[in-house]
């Protein structure tokens, strides 16, 4: 296991690389979902105001 984490001595560069890549992937999904949620809320509020 330790050998796997060490990655032949490159672990200190390799794991941050994977963390950054996967982090950006997850972050963008969350940002997109929250943007959709906000847009829905705003549209609903407008609907209620106009009624």
């Amino acid at each position: 296991m330790n050998e796997f984490l060490d990655m032949g001595g490159y672990g200190k560069y390799l794991w941050p690389t994977f963390a950054l890549g996967i982090g950006v992937v997850i972050l963008n999904l969350l940002l997109a979902l929250s943007s959709l949620k906000a847009a829905k809320l705003e549209a609903r509020r407008r609907m209620e105001m106009s009624q």
Binding site: Y13, F18, L20, A43, R46, M47
Partner: protein, 245 residues
């Protein structure tokens, strides 16, 4: 005839909204499976490189993010051009939906590239043609988003930002071919080249699967953001009431 029906549907916000809602879970699901399998393939199954040893595995994150940063910009520029030429609102909305995820992918490409560069080249950063052009790409995304945010009238914001997106697309081939046109520290294309890729199959399949996973992921995020854009733009339309009812 069928082509034009398809084109008209593409221009219709309620159709696009319904399409996006229906297909998002599918694209997202396949993206997740592809990325997880590719991670396992790249980190566990692929053998170490004879030159770069285990450090080469960083390519499984670096290449897909860098490739997406270019692909998303190209998509954005094409959508912006369609919006300009045919005055299609959905196309402008799609272009706007591309920008944030494209900018983030460029940040990831630059960041992972720096972490890859340190052990391979001995430095995090050099003002090399490929790296510099990729940084320019990030500023193009920022410029596009800044321009949109700075113009209040949505029609004017669409037009001005679309012109910037279309002009800026010149940077995409510059990045792609920078490693061939100039002396670059960055290695030349390994996979995306004419003829056979310069990579063993055991190393290649996780990379190709990761590229596919990232492409599906981008489509997923684009569809979600496109729905948000359409809701904001069409907030007074009757279809929005029906969709949210």
């Amino acid at each position: 005839m069928a082509t034009w029906t398809w084109f008209h549907r593409l221009a219709s916000p309620p159709h696009v909204y319904a399409f996006a809602r229906r297909w998002t879970p599918w694209f997202g699901g396949f993206a997740a499976v592809a990325i997880v399998v590719a991670l396992y393939g790249g980190l566990v199954m692929a053998p170490p490189d004879y030159q770069q040893k285990d450090a080469f595995r960083m390519v499984y994150v670096h290449a897909p993010t860098a490739w997406l940063s270019l692909m998303i910009y190209t998509t954005m520029a094409v959508a912006a051009a369609v919006g300009l030429i045919w005055r299609m609102k959905v196309a402008h909305a799609a272009a706007a939906a591309c920008a944030p995820v494209g900018a983030w992918m460029t940040v990831a490409a630059l960041g992972t590239g720096m972490l890859y560069g340190k052990p391979m080249w001995g430095t995090y950063w050099v003002w090399d043609p490929r790296l510099t052009a990729e940084l320019v790409l990030l500023f193009l995304y920022f410029g596009y988003m800044g321009l949109r945010a700075g113009i209040e009238d949505p029609v004017k914001a669409d037009k001005a930002s679309a012109v910037l997106a279309v002009v800026g697309v010149i940077n995409v081939p510059i990045i792609k071919f920078s490693v061939e046109w100039w002396n670059s520290l960055h290695q030349t294309a390994t996979v995306m080249q004419m003829g056979k890729p310069k990579m063993d199959f055991d190393m290649l399949w996780p990379l190709l699967l990761m590229l596919l996973g990232f492409l599906l992921y981008f489509i997923t995020v684009l569809l979600i953001r496109l729905r948000a854009e359409l809701l904001r733009r069409e907030r007074n339309a009757s279809w929005v009431r029906e969709v949210l009812a």
